[in-house]
C-alpha cells in the first residue's frame, strides 16, 4: 500500500524564546494541516527526544492533539533520540498500512533553548549508554570527537578534510530562510572555530535549536500527485559509542538504507537527493559511507568535489542539514522528511534541485545505533 504525504510544515529553526515546546509543535502541525487542505487526522504521533528529561511536557502527542482541538484522536509520543522523527513516520505508516487509520498527523518537536548548554548536553547524553557512558561524562559531542580523531588517524587525514562536510551544509543553508545559521562557512572560519573536544570544533557540531516539523500521512490513492513513501526501515545495532568510534562503521545505517531501498525497488543511483544525519561532521562522514555514497575512508574526498552540492550528482543536506538549518534533536528526522518532500514537489525555492524524483532520508539515534530510513518519490 502506498502512503502519501498530503501536507508538510515547519517552524523556523531558532531560539524561540517566546514559544514553548507545545507551542512550536502546534505551530508546525497547523502549517502541515493548512498545506494538506481540510483533513482531520485519526491519529497524532509526536516525535520528541528530550522534553521529558528536560522537565518539559511529557506525553506530548496527547497535548498536541488537545491543542489542535481533536477529541477522538489516537495519540503516541515517540522517543528514539535523534531518530525519533523517522521512527514516528514509520509508526504512522504502520497504522495506515494496518488499516487502522487513514490519516495520521506526525509532528517532530524539540525545545532546547530552555535548558542551559551543559544541561542540554547532559540530557542528550542520556540517549547513549547511561551506565557506561553518560554517567562518566561521555556525550554525543565527545563521542563525535573521539570518532573524528580515530577517523583522521586511521585514514591519515588532516582535520581540514572535515571542512567540506560543513561547507556543503552551510552553502545550502545560506539560502534557507528557516535555517538558524544561514550563511556560507569559509575555510578560515572553520579552522579558527573553538575546539569543543579535540579535534572536534564548534563548526563540526550541528547547533542545537528549537524547531518543529510536521507532515500529514494518508492512505495513498492510485492517482495521487503527492509525494509518497516508497520504502522504509528502522534498524538497530550494537548500542554504545565504542563500536562506531573504533570500527568507523554504522551497520544500522547501512542495513536500514539497504532495506528501505529494497522495499522501494530502487537503487542508490535512482536517488535525486539525500538527507543524511549530520549531527556532527563525523557522523555525517560515516553516514555517507554507510549508505554507499563512498568507500570507507573516502567520504571526505568525495565531499571535496561538487557531487553533494545542489547542482551536483547527489545533493545532500539540501536545506543546510542539521549543521546549518539547526539540530532540533527529536524533530531532526521530520525536518529531513519535510525538506525532501519540498524538493520532490518542486517547492524548494532557491534550494530547488533539478529533476527531483526520488529521495532518501535517514536519521540516526543514539550515535548511530539506531537508523531510520525513508525512500520518497
Amino acid at each position: 500500500m502506498k502512503i502519501e504525504i498530503a501536507g508538510v510544515g515547519t517552524t523556523k529553526s531558532a531560539e524561540k524564546w517566546e514559544l514553548g515546546l507545545l507551542d512550536i509543535a502546534i505551530k508546525a502541525a497547523g502549517k502541515a494541516l493548512k498545506d494538506a487542505g481540510s483533513v482531520t487526522p485519526d491519529a497524532v504521533i509526536v516525535a520528541n527526544a528530550l522534553g521529558g528529561a528536560l522537565g518539559d511536557q511529557q506525553n506530548l502527542a496527547l497535548h498536541v492533539a488537545g491543542g489542535l482541538g481533536y477529541s477522538h484522536a489516537e495519540t503516541y509520543s515517540v522517543c528514539c533520540d535523534e531518530a525519533s522523527g523517522g521512527a514516528a513516520v514509520r509508526l504512522a505508516s504502520a497504522l495506515i498500512r494496518s488499516g487502522m487509520h487513514d490519516t495520521v498527523l506526525v509532528v517532530g518537536a524539540e525545545k532546547t533553548s530552555d535548558a542551559l548548554p551543559d544541561m542540554l548536553e547532559t540530557v542528550r547524553s542520556a540517549g547513549l549508554d547511561a551506565a557506561r557512558e553518560a554517567s562518566f561524562g561521555f556525550s554525543p559531542t565527545i563521542a563525535g570527537a573521539l570518532g573524528m580523531q580515530h577517523y583522521l588517524s586511521t585514514y591519515h587525514l588532516d582535520k581540514e578534510a572535515f571542512y567540506h562536510i560543513a561547507r556543503i551544509a552551510h552553502q545550502h543553508g545560506s539560502t534557507n530562510r528557516n535555517a538558524i545559521f544561514p550563511w556560507a562557512l569559509d575555510r578560515k572560519q572553520y579552522l579558527k572555530s573553538p575546539i569543543v573536544a579535540t579535534p572536534l570544533s564548534v563548526c563540526d557540531n550541528a547547533p542545537p535549536c528549537d524547531g518543529a516539523a510536521a507532515a500529514i500521512l494518508k492512505k495513498g490513492s492510485v492517482q495521487t500527485s503527492n509525494v509518497c513513501i516508497l520504502g522504509s526501515a528502522n534498524t538497530s545495532d550494537r548500542k554504545g559509542i565504542v563500536f562506531p568510534i573504533t570500527s568507523l562503521q554504522l551497520p544500522a545505517a547501512t542495513q536500514s538504507a539497504t532495506m528501505a531501498l529494497k522495499e522501494a525497488g530502487s537503487q542508490l543511483s535512482d536517488m535525486s537527493l539525500m538527507e543524511l544525519h549530520d549531527a556532527n561532521t563525523f557522523l555525517a562522514a560515516l553516514s555517507i559511507e554507510a549508505v554507499g555514497l563512498a568507500q570507507p575512508g573516502k567520504a571526505l574526498e568525495r565531499a571535496q568535489t561538487d557531487d553533494f552540492l545542489l547542482t551536483g550528482t547527489m545533493p545532500l543536506w539540501t536545506f543546510g542539514g542539521h549543521k546549518s538549518r539547526g539540530l532540533a534533536p527529536g524533530a531532526s528526522g521530520m525536518y529531513q522528511l519535510v525538506e525532501a518532500v519540498l524538493e520532490l514537489r518542486g517547492d524548494a525555492g532557491e534550494n530547488q534541485i533539478t529533476n527531483a524524483n526520488k529521495a532518501l532520508v535517514q536519521c540516526l539515534g543514539s550515535f548511530g545505533a539506531q537508523a531510520v530510513t525513508h525512500v520518497l518519490g
Binding site: F138, L146, A197, P199
Partner: protein, 133 residues
C-alpha cells in the same frame, strides 16, 4: 546520579567487576542480565585486571553537567587486556600527552559529585602505568 543508582554500580565502578557467561564464556563489563551472544541468564562474577591500552583519545573542553570542574580532561576508548573496549577518562597525565597504544591501569577517582549536598560518585578511570622504581 541518584543515590541508589551509584550504589548499585559499586562493584563495577570500584572493583571493575563484570560478568562471564556460564553458557558461552562471553565476558562483559559492566555486568549484564542476559547474554547477548547466547541468551544465558546465569553468570559468574568476572574480575577484570584493570590493565589496557589507549585506542583513541580526545581532550575535552566542554563537559556535561557535573564534569565542568575537570576540564580540560582526557576522554578515551581503551582496550582492556581481556579484549573489552571501554569508554573512560584518562587521568594523572596532561591530556595532550596521551598517545594511542599508551599502557594504562585502573585507578579509582572521584568522577562527579552532585552539588555540595549530594552523593559523590567514585569509580574507575585509567592512568598511565606507574613506573615502579
Amino acid at each position: 546520579m541518584q543515590i541508589a543508582k551509584s550504589w548499585r554500580r559499586q562493584p563495577s565502578n570500584l572493583r571493575l567487576e563484570g560478568t562471564r557467561c556460564t553458557g558461552c564464556g562471553q565476558l562483559e563489563f559492566p555486568t549484564v542480565i542476559r547474554c547477548a551472544q547466547c541468551g544465558e541468564i546465569e553468570f559468574e562474577t568476572y574480575q577484570f585486571a584493570g590493565k589496557g591500552k589507549v585506542i583513541v583519545a580526545s581532550t575535552v573542553y566542554e563537559a556535561t553537567r557535573d564534569f565542568g570542574e575537570h576540564v580540560p580532561y582526557c576522554a578515551a576508548i581503551i582496550e582492556l587486556e581481556e579484549g573489552i573496549h571501554l569508554a573512560t577518562m584518562i587521568t594523572d597525565v596532561d591530556p595532550a600527552d596521551v598517545t594511542v597504544g599508551m599502557e594504562v591501569e585502573m585507578v579509582t577517582r572521584r568522577i562527579a559529585a552532585q552539588g555540595d549536598n549530594g552523593p559523590i560518585l567514585y569509580a574507575y578511570k585509567f592512568a598511565p602505568q606507574l613506573q615502579i622504581l
